[in-house]
């Protein structure tokens, strides 16, 4: 996308859409709202008024919110062509990867077709897996055979190893996440966007966030060896690179990990009580950084990408609030639910 007209169009669009992003204050207010008020504000009342199970309502809300996001994506894609378009189209592929994981785990656990289908995201045609064929597979091996014939052959062969040797399946989730982020970086490297630094910074923020959380989880919860932890990380972060990751992989204990982190993460996470707390702080940091980039970048593609990621985070925060209200959660529980958003994070968290 080189034309000034397209840049102007894209930036104007992002500028208009940016007013929809939620501030911390907006989130606080949304948490205080009743379900009816939320329904009125976000056009969800028809769903809330239906006489169906909470689970179904929740599914419909999720579908509608995701649909909103996909509609905005379609509008932002309009002026884009070539590699810029490829980059922006790559971003929502994470939902395709969530679906991939759901399909594998669904077959793994012998869930019925309807049950698995219910848990899949409805995605636009161009980023959708051949769900129906995969769903009709009669067992895990058959589905893996189908996947091995396509672009996910690497994931399929890893899943086969895990399936046949009955290992923990964390490495499958990690492989899927890594595939997504490395693919995103590859797209960023070949794009014709004029603000590559801004673009890499945006992706770097996401990778750093992901690496820190993985590092903490694998070291502290799963107690993996340093070599295994390092292998599962992505050595192309924004501010934490290969050498620092190797160093961090050897560290033990939450406080020591935080102490060893470079700034701004050191000061940002200082005093974090647990991984959930750290994740909440990191999510807000990523949101702030992306919003700054969105306003400051001279390139519409960077602004559009930052907007989409921020909007995605917001939508899942909103979804968490609505889900909490549907389930009758208290405000304290809602706080935790909002921190446990999945939109900006890995498929591992989503599933």
């Amino acid at each position: 996308m080189n034309s000034q007209r397209d840049q102007a169009y894209l930036k104007t669009r992002v500028g208009i859409y940016a007013s929809r992003l939620l501030s911390a204050e907006d989130i606080r207010i949304l948490k205080q709202m009743s379900l009816h008020q939320l329904g009125e504000r976000f056009d969800l009342l028809p769903i809330f008024e239906q006489e169906i199970e909470i689970r179904q309502k929740s599914g419909l809300v999720e579908h509608q919110l995701l649909q909103q996001l996909m509609n905005e994506l379609k509008v932002l894609l309009r002026p884009l062509s070539g590699r810029s378009r490829g980059l922006i189209l790559y971003w929502p592929r994470k939902y395709e990867l969530y679906n991939l994981k759901t399909l594998i785990q669904g077959k793994w656990n012998n869930l019925g077709i309807q049950e698995i289908r219910h848990n899949l995201y409805a995605l636009p045609e161009n980023i959708r897996l051949p769900h129906e064929a995969l769903l009709q597979a009669e067992n895990v091996q058959e589905m893996l055979r189908q996947l091995e014939r396509g672009p996910y052959s690497q994931i399929a062969s890893q899943a086969r190893t895990i399936y046949e040797e009955q290992h923990e399946n964390f490495s499958l989730g990690a492989a899927i996440d890594r595939l997504y982020y490395t693919g995103m970086l590859a797209q960023a490297n070949i794009t014709d966007c004029s603000d590559k630094r801004g673009l890499k910074k945006a992706i770097g923020c996401m990778v750093d966030r992901q690496n820190i959380l993985w590092l903490m989880r694998y070291r502290l919860v799963y107690q993996f060896a340093p070599s295994e932890v390092y292998y599962l990380l992505i050595p192309y972060g924004g501010q934490i690179q290969r050498d620092k990751l190797m160093e961090l992989a050897n560290v033990e204990g939450l406080d020591t990990i935080i102490e060893q982190l470079p700034d701004p993460f050191h000061s940002l996470l200082a005093g974090s009580a647990n991984i959930t707390d750290a994740r909440q702080r990191l999510d807000f940091w990523v949101s702030d950084e992306l919003r700054k980039l969105m306003l400051g970048s001279r390139d519409g593609v960077v602004a559009a990408l930052c907007y989409l990621i921020s909007r995605d985070t917001d939508i899942w925060r909103l979804y968490a609030i609505i889900q909490g209200k549907l389930l009758g959660m208290t405000n304290e529980l809602l706080d935790e639910a909002v921190s446990g958003i999945k939109g900006s994070s890995s498929s591992e968290e989503a599933a």
Binding site: Q136, Q141, R145, E148, E228, Y231, P235
Partner: protein
């Protein structure tokens, strides 16, 4: 003829048990398209046939998988048309399930054999790589007192990170054979007394050890021959498996045929989808039928449905226009042109069907751009000779050939010879400016007709605002007239005529104001979008008109190419002269002919259809048994 056929919305009330039968009868007629919209009546809440559909989908998926594995193609259906019951479908699905179980086992065995073959190939590659070293591979895998080592394959893009990762545990990694996808690596480290962490990292990395069997722990030459033996064994197993598959296919053929026929007859009921609803014993199905076929539908139902039914029909409502399927029935002559129109899009119900206009203008433009009696005759002859291969596209070739011949007579050209007979109208190169003027006027006429069709389309759809203010609406057409009038005044009188200039400015303001009002956004975005779109309207008309200059340009180009061929031929001897003339004509026919065909299509689609033809109609997809 000039728009899709009038349609009727029909509703058929039948007993539940007659619903599958009704679907089969309608499928036999090939003129009923189900309407899947939700029903207005709350009384009919259930969607019948859900279980039937699930069974069908599963069975169809199984049949497709089996067909792909055993290379089976169902024979075309020619039996008696009957209604398939749910029990029959379940039985077929169960049989296919059992059949697929066997086939899935074949497929898994095939996969394992392929995997084994790949592993052996990798071992052979590794061996070849090690042969220069002349070392005993077994030494690398034997239990050493102080050394731990592994040979295997990992994904190439993860080698560096794996090297760093195992480096943290004091292991060394040596890639010794790398390709774009995979790398063979050797991993060595000091043997640990505690539990090795290496395995879990390697598992995570998807490391596939090259498990060298004990019998290969020997010199490379011996190992090589043993690997060849293993390869031969795998090939033999593959052949054996293929024989088993062929034998199974022969046994199962009758069952497969029967299942395929069952599924074939189940399709109409499955395809009804949500167009049918039921409550208690009553069911209703709704859909669209061409008005002229209504009597046929009623007669068929009366003759074949065992129980009473109620058939109601009505004209489509104005608000239903967007969802009414478009049926176009053309004579054989217009079929190829209709296919090309469909490449652009299906006309909306009520919208002008541009097939006839397209056929006429396409043929005229092709002839004008490629006018030559000889070349036209070759195209005509080729179309007639290869009429079987061309099928329904034969009339297209015939018409293009005749048009080219007619314009060839008008231009006085035969196989590039310009002086064999006198032009009935004009030799293009004798007055290029005249040719360009004719093309320009043709283009203006084409654009005006397209815009008028657009206005008609909007009016037919009841969209008066669109007809007046929309893109290529009345205001845009007046703006175009103003631009043309101003341009002509400037050319003929040296000044822009007051009337035309006023017309252009007023219509421009009208278009801008409308675009400003119709936007739903902030004022800044409205102004930006309205400005860009209005500007595009002006540039669109100007550039589209100039595009038609290519009609003249290609007629000139055709002559120029012929001159080039004859100039080259003139440089050759007697034999060379005629060879060059023949080859040159072949070149012109194939290359220029193709380019002209594409250019005309471009003019039709881009300069014509984009002005008046939404092409977003709903294709008529009837229930069918074929």
């Amino acid at each position: 003829m000039f728009s899709p056929l009038p349609m009727k919305q029909i509703s058929i009330k039948v007993l539940n048990e007659d619903l599958p039968g009704a679907s089969v009868i309608l499928a036999g007629l090939n003129n009923f398209s189900p309407d899947n919209r939700p029903y207005a009546e709350n009384a009919l809440t259930e969607i019948p046939g859900q279980h039937f559909r699930e069974q069908y989908n599963q069975a169809k998926s199984r049949l497709d998988k089996i067909s792909a594995l055993v290379s089976y193609t169902p024979t075309p259906f020619d039996g008696e048309v009957t209604t398939i019951t749910e029990a029959e479908l379940e039985q077929a699905n169960q049989w296919l399930g059992e059949a697929w179980e066997t086939c899935s086992d074949f497929e898994e065995r095939q996969r394992r054999l392929t995997e084994e073959s790949r592993n052996i190939s990798q071992l052979e590659t590794s061996l070849a790589n090690f042969s220069n070293l002349d070392v005993d591979l077994g030494q690398l895998q034997q239990d050493q007192p102080f050394l731990e080592s592994s040979i295997g394959v990992v994904s190439s893009n993860r080698v560096e990170q794996l090297k760093d990762a195992i480096g943290l545990d004091g292991y060394l990694l040596f890639p010794f054979l790398q390709s774009e996808k995979e790398s063979h690596v050797l991993i060595i480290g000091a043997k640990r007394t505690e539990h090795s962490k290496l395995k879990s990292v390697l598992d995570t990395a998807g490391f596939r050890p090259l498990d060298i069997p004990p019998e290969l722990h020997t010199e490379p030459e011996t190992a090589k021959s043993r690997l060849a033996e293993r390869h031969a064994a795998v090939d033999e197993n593959s052949q054996q498996l293929n024989l088993e598959i062929v034998a199974w296919r022969a046994n199962a053929l009758q069952g497969l045929e029967q299942a395929a026929q069952t599924l074939h007859l189940a399709v109409p009921y499955v395809a009804l989808g949500e167009a049918a609803r039921k409550s208690g014993k009553l069911a209703r199905l709704q859909g669209w039928v061409p008005a002229e076929d209504m009597a046929q539908v009623e007669e068929a139902l009366q003759q074949k449905l065992p129980n009473a039914f109620v058939l109601e029909s009505r004209d489509p409502l104005p608000e239903e226009r967007a969802i009414v399927p478009s049926v176009m029935r053309h004579s054989r002559l217009f079929k190829p042109f209709s296919s090309l129109v469909m490449q652009y899009g299906v006309p909306r119900y009520g919208e002008v069907n541009p097939t006839h206009l397209f056929a006429l203008t396409y043929i005229l433009m092709f002839g004008m751009m490629f006018g030559d009696v000889g070349h036209g005759a070759v195209i005509l002859g080729a179309a007639l000779i290869w009429r079987r291969k061309l099928g329904s596209f034969t009339p297209f070739g015939v018409a293009a050939g005749i048009s080219s011949m007619v314009f060839g007579l008008l231009y006085g050209s035969i196989f590039g010879f310009e002086h064999l007979f006198h032009a009935w109208w004009i030799a293009p190169l004798s007055d290029p400016l005249y040719m360009l003027t004719v093309a320009l006027l043709w283009g203006i006429g084409f654009i005006v007709i397209s815009s008028l069709l657009n206005i008609i389309n909007h009016l037919v759809q009841g969209d008066r605002l669109g007809a007046l203010f929309g893109d290529n609406g009345l205001l845009s057409l007046l703006l175009y007239s103003g631009m043309l009038g101003s341009g002509y005044s400037l050319y003929a009188e040296g000044s822009v005529g007051g009337f035309w200039a006023t017309l252009a400015i007023l219509t421009l303001i009208g278009i801008f104001a409308h675009k400003l009002i119709e936007q739903e956004a902030s004022i800044g975005e409205r102004i930006l979008v309205a400005f860009i779109e209005t500007f595009e309207t002006i540039t669109g008309y100007a550039s589209n008109t100039l595009s038609f200059l290519r009609v003249a340009a290609f007629s000139l180009n055709h002559v120029a190419l012929a001159i080039a061929v004859f100039t080259l031929a003139g440089m050759m001897g007697d034999t060379g002269h005629w060879i060059t003339v023949v080859l040159g004509n072949v070149f012109i026919l194939v290359l220029e002919g193709l380019i002209v065909a594409i250019q005309v299509l471009r003019l039709e689609f881009y300069e014509g259809f984009s002005r008046f033809y939404a092409g977003d109609g709903k294709a008529f997809k009837p229930l069918t048994l074929s």
